[in-house]
Point group: C2
Chain length 341, copies 2
């Protein structure tokens, strides 16, 4: 059932986005502005799982929405929000690549032969993508009162993602409560933004009002989703993932795996891990060392156990729901911890 | 009549903002997040003319809106939009000061003893201020259909401000049509954002639908407003302005004054101007030199004439309006070109 969703909807969402950008470019008379619109378009259409719009469509169906064509049009807005946040994220992380291609600030840096102009234009490109997301919601035929509720909720989702980002940036200074702080970041940056938010947005547009159960489900699944992301970031298969498996280590990401590993490590092991984390030339031996320590220290098992517990709690939260909606949610929760990409 | 508006409303707007931030801080349990909220609060409450919310309130009255208390609550959102855009602007311009105090990225750089973290947190602080502006509109008691229209319009205004910013960043590469390009930047970054947008937002919340006249008025007045800003930036009185009169020169701003000056200047004068523009130690002699050349070359007169023409066109656009609304608009248009700060 999930496979079906991810087979059918991403293409339709991309068609909506592509039509939207075609219209934006046609209406634009200035070449410099058009160039930025094209950059946002190319970035947004690079691919990705389109998980947020797909969950928004599912949330709509879950609350008995019937206008599938309009919800597809509206759900595509979440990919513009994603571009907004990722473009700023790329600047903050000084990332060179996103989905296998140069980040916008690197593309623009090269084009204008100026690093600062690349970053400056990308800050604005992100802001523009945010305005585009609102425009796309407005373009749909839903009742204005429903669209209003969706836009207010979307703004709140973006606010919490920002809080997660603040905590993430400041986590380098964190000396205690590392795990608690990390789980809060996962709640704000992933669970609310990637799972709970999209489901509720879809539900709102279907006229739903009571999101308590779905919220409990989504927060648990969302944190598990991020924990699995971090496990794949260390143990995943490069080809299936579409990104080098050392990139999390290069970024110096303090995942739950790393936190637990360091907690249980000897002084020598701690020293070695700290040297590898954030280094720009990580060898296969380094990767193997971290992988082995993750297993040996119990960090991997700790992460996996937590994911499974969260997924069990999520499924328990929706135990009184009926088929076929329940079926999808259970399947999705299980997919989250079993996925390979 | 204008003085009255600027005497009465800014204080009320600041009260709304201050209550809003009080609520945000009370609801926030995390010290790192609260710290960012406090930074946005302090930045937003530093003062400024509050011209955008005041014009929004006026736009509301112009379209016969009666609920003054609610429009004040809603109009305050424009100061949060202003913080959003200015925080990003400060990063782009690498500004040290804003309204006489350190910019947010400088404050955070100092606090965390890390330049990059200062900038990264400020990108997010800007994004958060944008979410807050939507929240503040949502908090008002206006009908949801009206608030919906206002939020959609606001997003469009922010989009165009972004386009103006793109053109502004890229204007260093501009070799021809300098004046045309600059006037387009003024239209997007100032006229639409500072004058037309707020008036229409107020009008929308009053239930207005026809903004053709007001739009024509506002775009003309808005461009004149920016031209006057640039004149004050070279000839103004430091004390009245609240910022050093050399700061535009230090920033290397290519105002209409500078463009016209360079057009008519000798090779030697051009060389000297280019040397002064963007320099970090501008002397009183340098300032005097640029001022004299602005007069001698006719650049000052050219700018002033254009402002006056624009204001005349603006007043002509609203000739069929009736008092007392017309009175305010005429007075405001004249204030724009006669103001000293």
């Amino acid at each position: 059932m999930i496979d079906q969703y991810f087979e059918v909807y991403p293409k339709k969402i991309e068609k909506v986005l592509s039509d939207f950008f075609k219209m934006k470019k046609e209406n634009c008379k200035n070449e410099n502005i058009k160039n930025i619109i094209e950059k946002i378009e190319e970035y947004t259409l690079r691919g990705g799982k389109r998980i947020r719009p797909v969950l928004m469509i599912f949330g709509y169906k879950l609350f008995h929405g019937k206008n599938i064509e309009e919800i597809i049009k509206t759900a595509a807005s979440l990919e513009l929000v994603q571009s907004y946040l990722l473009i700023h994220d790329d600047i903050i992380d000084e990332s060179l690549l996103r989905r296998g291609k140069p980040t916008i600030h690197k593309t623009l840096e090269k084009e204008y032969n100026d690093k600062k102009i690349g970053v400056d234009l990308s800050i604005i490109a992100g802001d523009l993508a945010d305005s585009y997301s609102v425009e796309l919601i407005n373009n749909s035929d839903f009742d204005e009162k429903l669209k209003y509720k969706a836009i207010i909720k979307l703004s709140e989702i973006i606010e919490y993602t920002g809080y997660g980002q603040v905590l993430d940036i400041l986590s380098v200074f964190q000396t205690d409560n590392l795990e608690e702080n990390l789980l809060l970041i996962h709640k704000y940056k992933t669970a609310k933004y990637t799972i709970e938010g999209p489901l509720i947005l879809g539900g709102l547009l279907a006229g739903g009002t009571d999101f308590e159960l779905i919220s409990k489900y989504a927060i648990n699944v969302g944190i598990a989703f991020q924990l699995q992301d971090d496990i794949l970031g260390l143990f995943g298969d490069e080809k299936t993932l579409g990104k080098p498996v050392i990139s999390d280590l290069e970024e110096g990401k303090k995942t739950l795996l790393i936190i637990k590993m360091l907690e249980n490590a000897s002084a020598e092991e701690q020293k070695k891990i700290s040297k590898i984390l954030g280094s720009k030339n990580i060898s296969f031996t380094d990767l193997k060392y971290v992988q082995d320590l993750a297993v040996k220290s119990g960090a991997l098992k700790y992460s996996q156990d937590m994911s499974e517990r969260l997924v069990a709690q999520a499924i328990n939260a929706i135990k009184d729901l009926e088929a076929p909606e329940k079926e999808f949610l259970v399947e999705f929760a299980n997919y989250v911890i079993s996925r390979k990409f």
